[in-house]
């Protein structure tokens, strides 16, 4: 059934481009306006209209004017709620979308920034299977988090978002498509297991004993500590002398990860192995450099460096 519907929808998009033109990707920011908001009664709305209609025929038959008046009132209020539903969406603006990081196969987190010049309630956003709802106050930017499934590494275009609302009574559903022209970068999936990047001996060659200059902690004085490391002020409040201990950030060997050294593997396997090494290096807080065809990333460490390397891996042809 669902498959049939999907096929029908695809057919409609191909055959009736004038009806579905807003479903093509477009540039951000996107502001919803009347020409792209559709309104249909919900199932509940259809069911709800049965009751007044059944009463209406009785009130007319038995000339019960009071009931007729109130039924008219209820009917008119329902019709007015359709306009309220429309107004709930009209003028809503999707400012930008920020994507998080995810490896292929895991859902990627999207942050959608909606803003509005007036109060809107109970707006629902659907992206594939994920759905969420939000209310937004006038002049406030609403950051909405949604998860989008990913399949493979590289640039992946954003799926179409459905924005809808059945505010206030749930009788009518105003909806619109949002199809931002934006792609998210999906990182490669690292291989499960494999050899370490370098031989231990080679490791030792790069070992350096470096004294960092970041203050990490205070510890008790040991004979041989330089005098300028004594924390005089802190020591004054203690019985013993305290010494500033500086972090040694560079106490691990640095890795040089190189595409060229992974002979005998196909491209995707190389990428997933490099991704694993980059992950490991990042987890162990190592310094590492990455050599890729057409892209050489110098030695570095930290989250930015890591993201840089993963992005480079993701973008490999």
């Amino acid at each position: 059934m669902a498959g049939l519907l999907q096929r029908a929808q695809q057919l409609a998009e191909r055959r009736l481009p004038s009806l579905t033109r807003y479903r093509r990707a477009e540039k951000l920011p996107i502001e919803l306006h009347r020409r792209r908001i559709y309104i249909v009664p919900t199932g509940f709305g259809l069911g709800f209209s049965v009751f007044p209609l059944s009463i209406q025929k009785d009130t007319l038959n038995y000339a019960n004017n009071a009931a007729l008046l109130l039924t008219c009132l209820l009917g008119a209020a329902s019709a007015a709620s359709m306009l309220v539903a429309f107004r709930d969406l009209d003028g809503l603006r999707l400012g930008h979308i920020r994507a998080g990081h995810a490896v292929a196969g895991q859902p990627i987190e999207l942050t959608l920034a909606f803003d509005s010049s007036r109060v809107r309630q109970a707006i629902r956003v659907e992206l594939g299977r994920d759905a969420t709802a939000f209310a937004i106050d006038a002049g406030v930017v609403m950051h909405l988090k949604l998860m989008m499934p990913t399949t493979r590494r590289g640039w992946q275009p954003l799926a179409r978002l459905r924005v809808w609302s059945s505010w206030p009574l749930g009788l009518f559903r105003a909806w619109s498509w949002l199809h931002p022209e934006q792609a998210v970068l999906v990182w490669p999936r690292p291989e499960e297991a494999g050899p370490p990047p370098v031989a231990p001996a080679e490791d030792a060659r790069h070992m350096r004993l470096l004294q960092g200059d970041e203050l990490a902690a205070l510890r008790g004085y040991r004979v041989g500590d330089p005098q300028r490391h004594v924390a005089w002020k802190a020591s004054a409040r203690h019985d013993d002398l305290l010494v500033k201990d500086f972090e040694r950030a560079q106490n691990r060997p640095q890795w040089q990860l190189d595409w060229r050294r992974l002979d005998g593997l196909d491209d995707e396997s190389r990428i997933s192995r490099l991704a694993r090494w980059v992950n490991e290096a990042h987890a162990q807080q190592r310094h590492f450099s990455l050599w890729l065809p057409g892209n050489i990333i110098a030695n570095g460490s930290g989250p930015e460096h890591y993201a840089h390397c993963m992005n480079a891996l993701a973008q490999l042809p």
């Binding site: 000339a63 009132l73 309630q121 759905a131 009574l169 749930g170």
Partner: protein, 658 residues
Amino acid sequence: MKRVPRPKGTVDTPIDSRAFDLLSATLALILALHAPHLPWWLSAALALILGWRWWQRRQQIGRVPAWLKLPMLALLILVVIAWYGTIFGREPGTALAVGLLVLKLLESETERDARVGISFACFALMVALLFDQGLIATLVVALGLLPALATLRALQPARLPSSARRTLMSNLGLLFAALPLALLAFLLVPRLSTPLWGAPSPRQATTGLSDSMTPGNFTELLTDDHPAMRVSFDGPPPPADLRYFRAYVMGYYDGRGWHRRSPDPHQAVAAIEAGTTVSYRITLQPTRQRVLPTLDVPLQAPAQSQMQPEREVLADKAVTEAISYAGTSASRYRLQAVLDPASRQRGLQLPAGFNPRTHALAAQWRQRFGSDDAAIVDAALARFHDGGFRYTLAPAPLGRDSIDDFLFSTLEGFCEHYASSFTVLMRAAGIPARVVTGYQGGYWNKLADYLLVRNSDAHAWSEVWLAGRGWVRVDPTAAVRPERVTLGAAAAAGDQRDWYRNDWLQDVRNRWDVVNRWWDQAVVGFDALRQRGLLTPFGIRDTDTGMLGLLLAISSVLFVALGLGWALWRREARDQLRAAMHRLERKLARRGITRRSSEGPQHYLSRAARALPAQRHELEALMNLYLSLRYAQDHPSTESVRAFSVAVREFRPLDVVK
């Protein structure tokens, strides 16, 4: 198959406590609305179930198990069948609907349940109007829509926090916005002149006059304060002692009570010589009877009704909805000056073997006064006046010879007893006499110039035929209790009425009746006939169904256009700072300091400061504020812009120094 968890905000999610509370409140209101016409134990049981379910869901969210629910359902149906004998019809149907609605709450857990419940609740609300379509009932039902709408709102996900008052206001706003369209649809939806099927529930007994009278059967009527009819007069209203409204004439006495004779088709309508006449219009509440009360004595029958030989007016069909008719009556008259033998015989009919003492008394009077009928009437009235009779709505019961018992032993009763015994007494003395029932008195509403006649104004009096004068109205009750005629039933009953019928409240109720009358005329009584005359002011005499449909379509389109205009309208993001500056420029221009098109704000305001040296400091402060807001920052804060606009508003330019 693995069940995919549904995203939140769909129909399967359990509703939150706010929505459930509102749903329960809606149902409680419906139950209260229907309680008056449900058996009290059913209302109590349903209220108990409602309260229990509300408490139970507060403790733990979840449906009530089926083993508890199904027996309740079966019990409900059984109880309704046992009590009413059927589940069809208005009362049993309503009892069943309200019961099912309360039982629906037992399984209301998800959004879908709540929505079904609310739809059904709206239906049950409207059903309440089948029992009473008065103004108050309609308003209460309309207010009942508010919690229902609030429930629907509470079912929506992700609402901004809002107080109960704000929710109420937005629902009220929705209803008010819908009101014009609703009124228009109400006016224009074509009415049926006759029901397509069925007749409105015949089983219901409304209190009202009936075409027979046995002493005691007025009691219910005399304590019913509902309006029976409203009368507006062309010209001044007749004085209180002439406000007799004739309904039934009863000429047949069977020893227990009085009955209306079915009219002889050959009998002619009694001739009348009218003296002063009164024209009036009566709006009659539904009575489910054919009789149309008219001011004593009617001259012609209104449209769609027949004048009966004894000058009663019967409509062609029973009055099942409020109707309005015009009439002309004679307040001074001579009715049937010549009595034919057959009528005379009918006027003297008495069953044999009843009330020997009454007969003896009548024979004694006849002997004493000879052929002077008027003297016998006076003697009887004097006896009522001086014989120790009491007016009470709770008289002692009477035996087989009820007239004897009343006249000689109990001596207490109300209009029925007096009219009945007086008439028997007259007949026994050989004077043609009959009982007339109808209404007497009423409350004159000065605010809107009409006479309100309640059911409690029902009355019975006598007519005796006197040679040369015809049928003369004699009210023996007036002999006992003159206030009954001059002040009305309430005064006559004295302190026998309940506390809630005291004068002050009665007064309020009488005034309130103006609104009720308006409602009855404008809304409840708006029928096919009135609808056809809707466009008379615009020169269209007869508005037919096609025309109504066209009008409805046109006006709906108009309202849709208005609604769309509202929906599509977007407030321009106004530049508040610029607006405030414009206001300042207008103020200064009134003093002759006009900004030139090429002039910058600094130059302009400095010039203004020079022209108004007394306000130089104020103007310079305004200028500096404007310059800093406009040029020193990209997005000036809302507060400072507001401060500037307040300063502009408070600035009053004085006269220019030339």
